[in-house]
């Protein structure tokens, strides 16, 4: 770099000095949308994970579920409790179903809110 170049660079630096750094960073952080793109990815992963687990368990215990359902529907009087392990599995499946429905509604609500916020900022 020649002396002229150094002189020009020095002059440019003096001429174009940005104002307060902190205010700029603070304002920009306030304008950041809340991870809209990544929320969408998480939503997809979440649906695959939680509903995949749910249907996986349902498929795995399908014979037990079918038998229990049949007993409930056709022979209510003679319905007997399944074994402890099967009972725990049934309860877990039921809880997972409740959790999946609750979290799915929550995730969709957050996604819609975030999409609205994203649209407002663009």
């Amino acid at each position: 770099m020649t002396n002229d170049d150094k002189h020009l660079r020095q002059r440019l630096e003096e001429l174009y000095q940005p104002a307060s750094d902190d205010a700029f960073v603070r304002d920009t952080l306030n304008r950041l949308p809340h991870g809209y793109a990544r929320l969408r990815l998480r939503l997809v992963l979440f649906f695959i994970l939680i509903w995949g687990t749910f249907f996986g368990l349902v498929i795995h215990f399908r014979s037990l579920l079918y038998a229990a359902l049949k007993d409930v529907l056709y022979t209510i009087g003679s319905w007997t409790l399944p074994s402890t392990s099967d009972l725990i599995a049934l309860i877990l499946i039921f809880l997972l179903f409740v959790l999946a429905v609750h979290e799915s509604c929550d995730a969709v609500t957050r996604y819609i809110d975030c999409q609205y916020e994203h649209d407002q900022t663009m």
Binding site: D4, D5, H7, L8, R9, R11, L12, E13, E14, L15, Y16, Q17, P18, A19, D21, F24, V25, D27, T28, L29, R31, L32, P33, H34, G35, Y36, A37, R38, T121
Partner: protein, 181 residues
């Protein structure tokens, strides 16, 4: 002190705004300076465009693959945002424009031989404002951001030969308009 890669990973995986704030603190000054040169000192517009750049970087940081430095990546976003802004506003000036020629000719020649700091600064601002778009961009990236020709090529997508010619012509125009040598 975490490296850029660590901070970027935290942003991508955890949506970590503190990590992004640290990246922003590191790169905000050069990016704002770039826009200050492009807008010829319009601070409000420069900051607005710089904010747009960082918001775009935040939304698309997952697409940063580390093939170039984070600085080069963010300058590329800044350059594209500037081109988009220009496309929306169509207010570029050329040295061939009659208005520009008149302004250039109106620069006080006597002051060139005895420059005072204030006059020199104002004349330089005018001269930078009169440069064609490509030359101003190359001058900003080469002198203020101290990017190499190859890095300017990565930012702008222009061939290295074109960048060299922009720089050479820009320097000559500044010498003519500003008379700094």
């Amino acid at each position: 002190m975490d490296s850029d890669v660590v901070l970027i990973s935290r942003v991508v995986l955890l949506d970590d705004q503190h990590a992004f704030a640290r990246l922003m603190r590191k790169y905000q000054r050069p990016v704002r300076r770039y826009f200050l040169v492009e807008t010829n000192g319009d601070e409000a517009l420069a900051d607005d465009l710089a904010q747009e750049t960082f918001i775009h970087a935040w939304q698309n940081i997952g697409s940063f693959h580390g093939l170039s430095g984070f600085g080069t990546w963010i300058y590329r976003i800044a350059h594209n945002i500037w081109l988009n802004w220009l496309a929306r506003h169509h207010d570029t000036l050329s040295l061939d424009d009659p208005v520009v020629r008149t302004e250039a000719e109106a620069l006080p020649l006597d002051d060139r031989s005895q420059p005072s700091d204030i006059h020199e600064t104002e004349r330089l601002r005018t001269a930078i404002g009169l440069l064609p778009e490509g030359e101003r961009t190359c001058i900003a990236l080469f002198y203020l951001q101290e990017l190499s020709l190859r890095e300017i090529h990565r930012v702008t997508g222009w061939p290295v030969g074109t960048i060299k010619s922009h720089l050479s012509r820009g320097r000559n125009h500044l010498k003519t308009l500003f008379g700094y040598d």
